[in-house]
């Protein structure tokens, strides 16, 4: 009975929920803005990718901690 493995699983799942929710909201507002103003679609796409990479960076912090827990 290793609680570290259980904690790693829970941590990874919660992180994925938070990250996917954030990036989903980001992508939805980016799509809406592109629909309203198609000329700005290129700028919006660039900013969306940058913001998605930063949000993913946060979720990967938690992933690193979960891997450390699971490998203990």
């Amino acid at each position: 009975m290793d609680l570290a493995h259980l904690a790693a699983g829970f941590g990874a799942a919660l992180t994925v929920i938070g990250g996917a929710f954030g990036i989903g909201k980001l992508a939805s507002s980016a799509m809406e803005a592109s629909g309203r103003q198609p000329e700005a679609a290129g700028d919006i796409r660039t900013s969306m990718i940058i913001a998605a990479a930063l949000i993913e960076g946060i979720s990967l912090f938690a992933l690193v901690i979960c891997i450390l827990l699971a490998l203990k």
């Binding site: 990718i49 990479a53 960076g57 990967l60």
Partner: protein, 281 residues
């Protein structure tokens, strides 16, 4: 009465499960982590172990692939600079390098640093191309990603940290730089909170740069290995089409992530340089 027998059975089952699990999935971490042997097709080279002054300076797989990317970059850019000596109009592969260099100059350095961006451009270009080459070499079969080692990314982040601080201090003076950390025109009772927050922020931003690059590279490789390892863990051939197609999709995503992480590292470095050099906005 039967407790000892039951305990023996439970212990042996657990031992078999653990041994089986280790045997089936130990190779995933072996492919992702650093190791002292170089795996080439049909040969396995043992790399030399060097111990100097009590520090372990032995040559490992990630170091060898860092040297490979170093030699690739040096040869590539010496060739490119030689084509620029003949004519300023690029032909062939010089076009590709011009696209990337102008991208770093116009989209990353100029908007974020503003005036005086030329002094920081060599460092930003070096970081961008080094991380890009290391990431791409890791995607080739038998290649390993040097940036998936926390030491390499921590070194890159430390060098960024030094460039940010020295750049900011040379523009604003040592004391003026620390004074400019706290935003101008703030109520005096907020200072005890803002000063530690800003000082801590100086260190957490490069730390986040290092962890972001390391985690992205390592996680991508682990996902590919885990998906392909499903075939070996489940011991069937039925799962092969699903496993290989998912692994192919994640592989393509890895190429995008390699480009994106090089861009994000360089852009955040240049953003922090811009914030340190022009502290008024």
């Amino acid at each position: 009465m039967w407790v000892t027998e039951i305990n023996t059975i439970v212990d042996s089952v657990k031992a078999v499960a653990e041994a089986g699990a280790k045997k089936d999935t130990g190779w995933i971490m072996h492919h992702v982590l650093d190791s002292r042997t170089l795996d080439l097709p049909f040969i396995e080279i043992q790399l030399p172990q060097i111990h100097l002054f009590g520090m372990d300076l032995s040559i490992t797989k990630h170091l060898v692939f860092m040297w490979v990317s170093l030699i690739t970059l040096i040869l590539f850019f010496i060739y490119i600079s030689r084509t620029y000596k003949k004519t300023l109009i690029p032909h062939g592969v010089t076009n590709l390098s011009e696209i990337l260099i102008i991208f770093v100059r116009d989209e990353i350095a100029k908007p974020t640093i503003g005036k005086g961006y030329e002094k920081f451009l060599p460092y930003l270009l070096t970081a961008f191309f080094f991380i890009l080459t290391c990431n791409f070499i890791g995607l080739i079969p038998y290649g390993s990603t040097a940036t998936s080692n926390i030491s390499v990314t921590a070194t890159l982040a430390t060098i960024s940290f030094i460039v940010i601080q020295v750049g900011g201090m040379m523009k604003n003076g040592i004391f003026g730089y620390f004074k400019g950390l706290v935003p101008h025109g703030m109520p005096i009772w907020l200072l005890p909170i803002m000063i530690p927050v800003e000082l801590l922020g100086l260190f957490t931003k490069p730390f986040a740069l290092a962890i972001r690059l390391f985690a992205n590279m390592t996680a991508g490789h682990i996902v590919i290995m885990a998906l392909l390892g499903l075939i070996f863990i489940l011991h069937t051939y039925i799962v092969v089409p699903v496993s290989v197609s998912f692994a192919l999709f994640i592989y393509l995503l890895e190429i995008l992530v390699a480009l994106l992480q090089a861009y994000i590292f360089t852009m955040l470095s240049s953003l922090f340089i811009g914030m340190a050099v022009h502290q008024d906005h």
